[in-house]
């Protein structure tokens, strides 16, 4: 195993941003989960570490977890950890129902039929 390949460098670095943690402090974030910075986030944002600051800036408009990962150039797993931290810290908000009731499913179907 060569220790200095570019792949190895890429492999180790991302999880340094999370302090080595690989599990988000808040479960349930999916690829498509929309997250948005809360209004007061721009006041507290500048005090954050670099990547977290970039996420807050990126999420001025709602973004999916997938877009955040792509936007700051980190693996999905890392993005989930950072986003969850920011949610628990009250800087990002999200609404992701786990189970959709019938009337919402019907609403989705009606919208799809009208496309």
């Amino acid at each position: 195993m060569s220790e200095d390949s570019a792949e190895d460098a890429l492999f180790v670095r991302p999880f340094i941003m999370t302090g080595g943690r690989s599990e988000p402090v808040q479960a349930g974030l999916r690829l498509e989960t929309l997250v948005v910075a809360v209004e007061e986030a721009h006041v507290r944002g500048p005090g954050l570490e670099f990547e977290r600051q970039r996420i807050v800036a990126l999420c001025a408009e709602p973004k999916t977890v997938a877009e955040v990962a792509d936007g700051i150039g980190v693996p999905l797993g890392v993005a989930k950890v950072l986003i969850a931290d920011l949610m628990v810290g009250g800087l990002l908000a999200s609404r992701q129902p786990t189970e959709l009731p019938l009337h919402v499913l019907e609403r989705i179907r009606d919208h799809v039929r009208a496309l």
Binding site: M1, E7, L10, F11, P14, F15, S22, E23, Q26, A27, G28, L29, R30, L31, E32, T33, L34, V36, V38, P62, T64, A66, A69, D70, G73, V74, P75, L76, G77, V78, M87, V88, G90, L92, A93, S94, R95, Q96, P97, T98, L100, L102, V104, L105, E106, R107, I108, R109, H111, V112, R113, L115
Partner: protein, 202 residues
């Protein structure tokens, strides 16, 4: 899981579009999406199957996958995302992330290479989540009867098989509507019977 329940935040729902390489997934998504479906620059670096395996260096894989996805804003509070599964088998580790929480799946098939849809069909049939088989019409492909396709694939009666033209917005819409009918049908069936066992099994 709302950290801060802000009514102004829309929520996302997802439909997965699967099938073999070159079957028309990107075209299908592009026909209804508000955003460009595939940006080759928009690659997501994904660290292997389970992040837990980071401890063992031998278990590592770093792969860059271009995520193929489209967006449809349904109303002010619901945004529908269409995610394409990567065509290559070697990216199949991403499938679990892709299908997690999805409303359902469209499996696209090409009658000229029907066997290419087998891996996707196997995967989604096993999961017992809503899906429809959409047979994409390709120029030069022989005409086919959807029931023949069903028979050829050994699909049960419960799986809708529909013909579609992935380039055509209204055709894609009809496939998605057929899937939503399936989603609602399953939801109702789960409430009346068998749902309890499924809920417990989760």
């Amino acid at each position: 899981m709302s950290g801060r329940s802000d009514k102004s935040v829309p929520f996302a729902v997802k439909i997965v579009v699967s099938g073999g390489l070159g079957v028309g997934k990107t075209t299908f998504i592009g026909a209804v999406s508000e955003i460009e479906p595939l940006d080759t620059e928009a690659a997501i670096t994904q660290v292997s199957v389970g992040v837990d395996s980071l401890a063992g260096v031998e278990g590592k894989t770093t792969t860059t996958v271009a995520l193929d996805f489209g967006r449809i804003t349904l109303d002010s509070s619901i945004v529908l995302y269409l995610f394409g599964t990567p065509g290559q088998d070697r990216f199949s580790f991403l499938w679990d992330d892709l299908v997690e929480g999805a409303l359902g799946t469209v499996v696209l098939a090409d009658t000229r290479r029907i066997e290419d849809s087998f891996p996707a069909l196997d995967f989604f049939e096993e999961r017992d989540e809503p899906f429809v088989l959409a047979v994409n019409r390709f120029d030069g492909a022989q005409h086919f009867d959807v029931e023949e396709v069903r028979e050829a694939l050994g699909l049960g009666d419960r799986v809708p098989v529909v013909a579609c033209d992935a380039r055509d917005r209204s055709s894609v819409r009809d496939v998605l509507a057929a899937l939503m009918d399936q989603v609602i049908g399953k939801h109702l069936a789960a409430r009346t019977g068998g749902g309890r066992a499924r809920a417990l099994a989760r």
